[in-house]
């Protein structure tokens, strides 16, 4: 089922929710209310929404610390996500996981990971479980092109192919591995070629085109559900903000970032909606709806209680 114009409007609003979520976190971070690091996904919203919306709620997802967008797009409650950022008991992990470990298995979100390729075998494992139990759920793992040089990533490529797992790997290639240009650190920077070398059905797509992402993941999922095995999608995108808060971004010019903004996914989706017959008033309305979702989440998170000291000793085998 392709994205209908109506659903595309909802997807546009979902991307705005993710963008505004990250903007709100930046503001909270600047106020000193966020502990630890924050790795924004601003500019990469189309890969998240396009991919996750092409899947079912009971399909599985793993992602990385830059996965706020994917987690929300898969169905993580925005209020629980915001509360987790503020370390509250109402957070999706009761304040124990924080920014880098959003988890909610009720929507298939098996976890964001602070090890860049650490979650890739987990998605493969969920895919194997589905295959073993003769179910038709698929698993999707998101990661950046910075993850493709970790051993476990390459090992997992091999396993996925030999076991023909119902697995979709989405590489968000945003050109930078942390603070280094990826072409300086990666032997074959067209990462889909690596996957193809392992025997994957592999492709490179425009990751800032939400419809392209949706269509690619939808086809991959259909193939996986039918027993056709894994697919690798390299989605070309761009990280509009730095690797993390406080990144001086000495590895790129301001001009490069300015130019990238012309191609960013929310602007492009807005233009597309106007082509499809939406009015600018419609877009403003969707923006306002996203704004109020975030305002509610902030209100919820700020007013939620902090964990009690005794909570430090629960949720683990002692």
């Amino acid at each position: 089922m392709p994205l209908t114009p109506e659903r595309l409007q909802e997807a546009y609003r979902q991307m705005l929710v993710i963008r505004k979520f990250e903007e709100a976190i930046r503001s909270l971070y600047q106020q000193g209310k966020i502990r630890g690091s924050f790795h924004p996904c601003v500019g990469q919203e189309a890969t998240a929404v396009g991919g996750c919306w092409a899947l079912r709620k009971d399909d599985y997802l793993t992602c990385t610390y830059r996965g706020h967008g994917q987690a929300i797009a898969k169905g993580l409650n925005v209020q629980a996500a915001m509360a987790e950022m503020l370390g509250k008991t109402t957070g999706c992990s009761k304040g124990k996981g924080g920014s880098m470990h959003f988890t909610d298995p009720s929507v298939g979100l098996l976890g964001a990971n602070a090890i860049v390729a650490g979650g890739v075998p987990h998605a493969a494992g969920a895919a194997l479980a589905s295959q073993l139990q003769k179910k038709d759920n698929v698993a999707i793992a998101y990661f950046g092109e910075g993850a493709v040089n970790q051993g476990v990533f390459l090992e997992s490529l091999n396993l996925a192919v030999i076991w023909k797992l119902p697995l979709i790997l989405v590489c968000e290639n945003n050109l930078y591995s942390e603070m280094s240009p990826s072409h300086e650190t990666t032997s074959v920077v067209e990462t889909y070629k690596r996957a193809a070398g392992f025997g994957f059905e592999a492709m490179r797509i425009d990751g800032n085109d939400i419809e392209a992402v949706y269509n690619a993941v939808e086809s991959a999922a259909a193939r996986a559900r039918a027993g056709g095995g894994p697919t690798y999608i390299e989605a070309m995108t761009y990280r509009l903000w730095g690797h993390m808060m406080g990144d001086p971004e000495i590895y790129r010019t301001k001009e490069e970032v300015t130019k990238a903004k012309e191609n960013e996914p929310i602007v492009r989706c807005g233009k597309r909606l106007l082509e499809l017959g939406c009015t600018s008033e419609d877009l403003t309305r969707l923006d306002g709806e996203a704004e109020s979702i975030i305002a509610d989440a902030l209100q919820f998170a700020e007013s939620s209680p902090a964990p009690q000291p005794a909570d430090a000793f629960t949720d683990v085998f002692i």
């Binding site: 988890t103 075998p121 194997l128 479980a129 073993l132 085998f317």
Partner: protein, 323 residues
């Protein structure tokens, strides 16, 4: 009761758990038709098929990670590492992932996975195939660590581990596989976290586990001939540690020796002695001692390995020095 080997006891535990619980499946190198290099998974592929007795490539990080993912969505994988030394190849998945995901998720996911591996020296396998890693792993909150010494304990503890609902590191010893013992028939389990007094004695408490537990029992017989009655405690579980059994025994004997094959430096011996001093400082009438591998990599030549790893005679000497 049947008199079977440690490897056969493990095989029985796997077979019985796979029969009663379709969520249980096995992964590891050469565990299928080959039956595992120590025959622990012998013939299981014939009964349960290649899907559930799954041979893996030599890529420990990914197949331990796959076990984690499968466990998160409800299966009960039992993952075999060919040698415990390879746990370091998969260290991220064991330490950063399996041990922490339940906690980091606020308890919304759990990892009911067992990682089995054999460890230890004594047969000249060299420095990368002979190490004992329980102390490293015991440093990581979130892992259960068991190390049975007898066939009966091996079977009972493996069944408990598969049912534990949390990640378990199941430590076997390459030189225990062919040891024999009486094993109850049918379904039974040994509780995790419970030590067992394997020999009663009044003069000294010897705490050990895995292969050196057998050494401690052997040494105790020698000591008995010299008039020293040693009480020998088999920890069976390393984490969580059954301190009550140790403390009760030490209160009766006043002397304590901890023996393990892992390196002595910063080892479990140090931990147990520290806890005894913290929790029952007046129970000791002599300074306690520990015996572990000496602080060098494990060598191959027998004359070298025997010096580096604790032997029954070393236990006898250490005990005699405390009287």
């Amino acid at each position: 009761m049947s008199n079977i080997t440690y490897a056969q006891a493990l095989n029985e535990a796997l077979r019985e758990e796979m029969k009663v619980d379709s969520r249980v499946f096995l992964m590891g190198e050469d565990i299928g038709h080959h039956g595992g290099i120590f025959r622990v998974t012998k013939d299981l592929i014939d009964e349960f098929g290649a899907d559930r007795v799954r041979d893996t490539p030599i890529s420990e990080s990914s197949f331990v990670g796959v076990g984690i993912g499968a466990a998160m969505v409800g299966l009960r994988p039992v993952v075999e590492l060919l040698f415990m030394d390879f746990a370091l190849v998969a260290a991220d998945q064991i330490v950063n992932q399996a041990a922490k995901l339940r906690y980091m998720s606020g308890g919304t996911v759990s990892i009911p996975m067992v990682v089995r591996a054999q460890q230890g020296g004594g047969r000249g396998n060299g420095a990368q195939h002979s190490q004992s890693f329980e102390t490293w792993l015991a440093q990581v909150p979130g892992l259960i660590i068991v190390a049975p010494s007898t066939p009966a304990d091996a079977k009972g503890l493996l069944k408990s581990s598969i049912r534990a609902g949390n990640p378990v590191i199941f430590i076997e010893h390459k030189l225990l596989y062919n040891t024999k013992g009486d094993v109850p028939e049918g379904d039974y389990s040994i509780p995790i976290g419970k030590a067992e007094i394997k020999r009663d004695g009044r003069d000294i408490t010897i705490v050990s586990y895995s292969r050196t537990l057998l050494f401690a029992l052997e040494a105790a017989e020698t000591l008995a001939q010299k008039g020293i009655e040693a009480e020998v405690i088999d920890l069976r579980t390393i984490e969580p540690l059954d301190m009550n059994t140790i403390l009760e025994s030490v209160k009766g004997t006043g002397r304590l020796l901890v023996v393990h094959e892992a390196h002595s430096n910063c080892g479990l011996g140090a931990e147990i002695i520290a806890r005894v001093y913290e929790q029952a400082p007046d129970s000791l009438i002599m300074p306690p001692r520990r015996l572990g591998a000496k602080h060098v990599p494990i060598p191959v030549a027998e004359t070298l390995e025997d010096v580096v790893l604790p032997q029954p005679a070393d236990i006898v000497n250490a005990v005699e020095a405390m009287f």
